[in-house]
């Protein structure tokens, strides 16, 4: 099988989420990549270094600058005439683009796969990860998104892919990019961090969230996450949210502070290697999944912990 993998990039370098998708694709056979962007030659040469990669298709055009699905999907459909599967990491771009490609190919997408069982059979989470389904696709071509935490990352170097330019399918004129508010990353990125410190509604407000969670995270060199309740209450922006519909994470250590542990939150972090929970309610569901629990007032515990580390 020949698989085309969507490369997540910022024109200069390749994002980590791509590497897990490459590993999933390599289980199906030959791996080709698609780098679509505007001024993305550097990202294309970085992609060609990924271990095990064959051809790197590069579509460099202003129409692809912001990965607008209206413009990118027709490009992928054209490339799919000589590929058997399309795989994207389950990033916001991947989730936006892949189903559009699937419908244009008349294929039922397999979302957020956890494993590749065979060429046509995969496992995927349903019901917020409370039920793992094994599904077999009857479609001739496959369209798949990959859960990043479920696959090892392919080596970013050691490969020798050949870069090949593909012609643009143009701007379809249906949509335009107006702008973005992308938070500056002062800390590690959530989905690739080794340690995550997350806060919940019990943090009270944005200022106390920052005053308690941020110093501890910085002491541990950790990324900062949050429960939906904390994001809804406006303590931190949406890109901090961990859970069923937020980010799915599986760090070495996940520290849940003032998070009760709703199933929607657990769905996003329960594959973490070690879970540490700090909560004043000893019956909070988070303690049912925590390896180490500490019951008490977080406003006393967290500053003391930060101090003693």
């Amino acid at each position: 099988m020949k698989t085309l993998v969507w490369v997540e990039h910022d024109n200069a370098s390749v994002k980590d989420a791509t590497l897990a998708a490459v590993t999933a694709a390599s289980k199906l056979g030959e791996v080709h990549l698609l780098v679509a962007g505007s001024g993305c030659a550097a990202a294309a040469s970085a992609a060609a270094q990924i271990a095990g990669v064959g051809k790197v298709h590069v579509a460099d055009d202003a129409a692809f600058a912001n990965a607008l699905p209206e413009n990118v999907a027709p490009l992928i459909v054209e490339l799919m005439s000589h590929h058997d599967a399309f795989i994207a990491p389950a990033t916001s771009n991947g989730k936006n683009i892949a189903p559009r490609v699937a419908a244009l190919l008349d294929v039922m997408q397999i979302s957020d796969i956890l494993s590749v069982e065979s060429e046509d059979t995969f496992t995927r989470p349903t019901y917020a990860g409370n039920a793992i389904a094994t599904v077999k696709s009857k479609d001739a071509k496959k369209v798949i998104t990959v859960r990043g935490t479920a696959f090892e990352k392919a080596d970013a170097t050691g490969g020798s892919g050949t870069v090949e330019a593909v012609s643009s399918t143009g701007d379809k004129g249906l949509s335009s990019f107006i702008g973005s508010e992308i938070a500056k990353m002062e800390r590690p990125e959530l989905t690739s961090a080794k340690i995550i410190v997350s806060g919940g509604r019990a943090l009270k407000d944005g200022d106390t969230f920052k005053a308690n969670i941020f110093p501890l995270a910085d002491k541990l060199g950790a990324a900062v996450g949050a429960s939906r309740a904390a994001v809804d209450a406006g303590y931190v922006p949406n890109d901090y949210q961990v859970g069923q519909t937020g980010k799915i994470v599986a760090p070495e250590v996940y520290v849940a502070i003032g998070i009760s542990g709703a199933i929607q939150h657990l769905a996003g972090m329960k594959d973490s290697k070690t879970i540490i929970a700090i909560n004043k309610d000893e019956d909070a569901p988070i303690f049912q999944v925590a390896d180490i629990g500490l019951v008490g007032d977080l406003f006393k515990i967290v500053p003391e912990l930060t101090e003693k580390l």
């Binding site: 771009n93 002491k219 890109d239 070495e252 629990g293």
Partner: protein
């Protein structure tokens, strides 16, 4: 301008799903069912656009079992004008998108607002597929929607933060959690909803083949995490973290 809002009847989000012992799926017998939470947000957004004068009619559509009528009545009680039920069980997102595309051919709505994903199958596909089949633009994971003349500006929740796109109408929007807070239906409106029009259809009426493309071989519970230990104080926690090599 007309707005179509597809809604799905799913397990209530407060219920913990249990996998059936025979591994064929999740046990839904005698389980509380509700409107998919993201679809409630979609209904609310459509109603707000109508209240602002940006839309004239809100049509809700459900593809599901006969009982999905209850879900449609909920949407009507929130304020939607009329409903269409296409009766069919377990239709995959691709089939749902094909049926909705046919509905749109008849209704010619300016906007179709859907939940970004259903909390049962967690697919996150239908809106994008519908946009593809209709050849129209999509604004997924919306946290803000503004109709301006013949276009809509959609602010989207993306991995790094927010981004805004402008789409030519007709367009497809899928909702994220923070778009709005859905209203509760008042008792008088629940009574009124009973007499609002609800059309009953079948996939055959639209000539759409909805045979499944995916076969579910088995469904299992995820590996269970064992609860660990409780420590008494911060010193003990620090000692554990040091033993794990997390802290120096």
């Amino acid at each position: 301008m007309k707005i179509i809002v597809p809604v799905k009847r799913v397990i209530d989000y407060n219920v913990k799903p249990r996998v059936k012992a025979d591994g064929t799926g999740v046990d839904l017998a005698n389980v509380k069912m509700s409107m998919n939470p993201f679809d409630e947000i979609a209904v609310e957004e459509a109603l707000r656009l109508k209240e602002k004068g940006a839309a004239t009619e809100v049509v809700v559509v459900s593809i599901g079992p006969a009982k999905a009528q209850e879900t449609l009545r909920t949407a009507l009680a929130m304020g939607a004008d009329r409903a269409i039920l296409i009766e069919a069980e377990d239709v995959e997102p691709l089939g749902v998108a094909k049926l909705l595309a046919k509905v749109q051919e008849e209704e010619l709505a300016g906007l179709i607002i859907l939940g970004k994903q259903a909390i049962d199958n967690d697919c996150n596909q239908t809106g994008q597929m519908l946009a593809a089949l209709l050849g129209r633009p999509q604004g997924t994971f919306a946290s803000k929607v503004e109709v301006e003349g013949d276009s809509v500006s959609v602010t989207r929740e993306v991995d790094g933060g927010l981004e805004t796109v402008k789409l030519t109408l007709p367009a497809i929007v899928t909702t994220d959690l923070r778009l709005n807070e859905p209203r509760y239906a008042s008792l008088p409106n629940i009574m009124k909803a009973k007499s609002k029009p609800l059309a009953q259809k079948t996939p055959a009426d639209y000539g759409v083949d909805i045979s499944p493309r995916l076969e579910t071989l088995k469904v299992v519970e995820p590996p269970v995490r064992q609860a660990g230990i409780k420590v008494a104080d911060v010193d003990e926690l620090v000692a554990k973290l040091k033993a794990m090599g997390v802290a120096a």
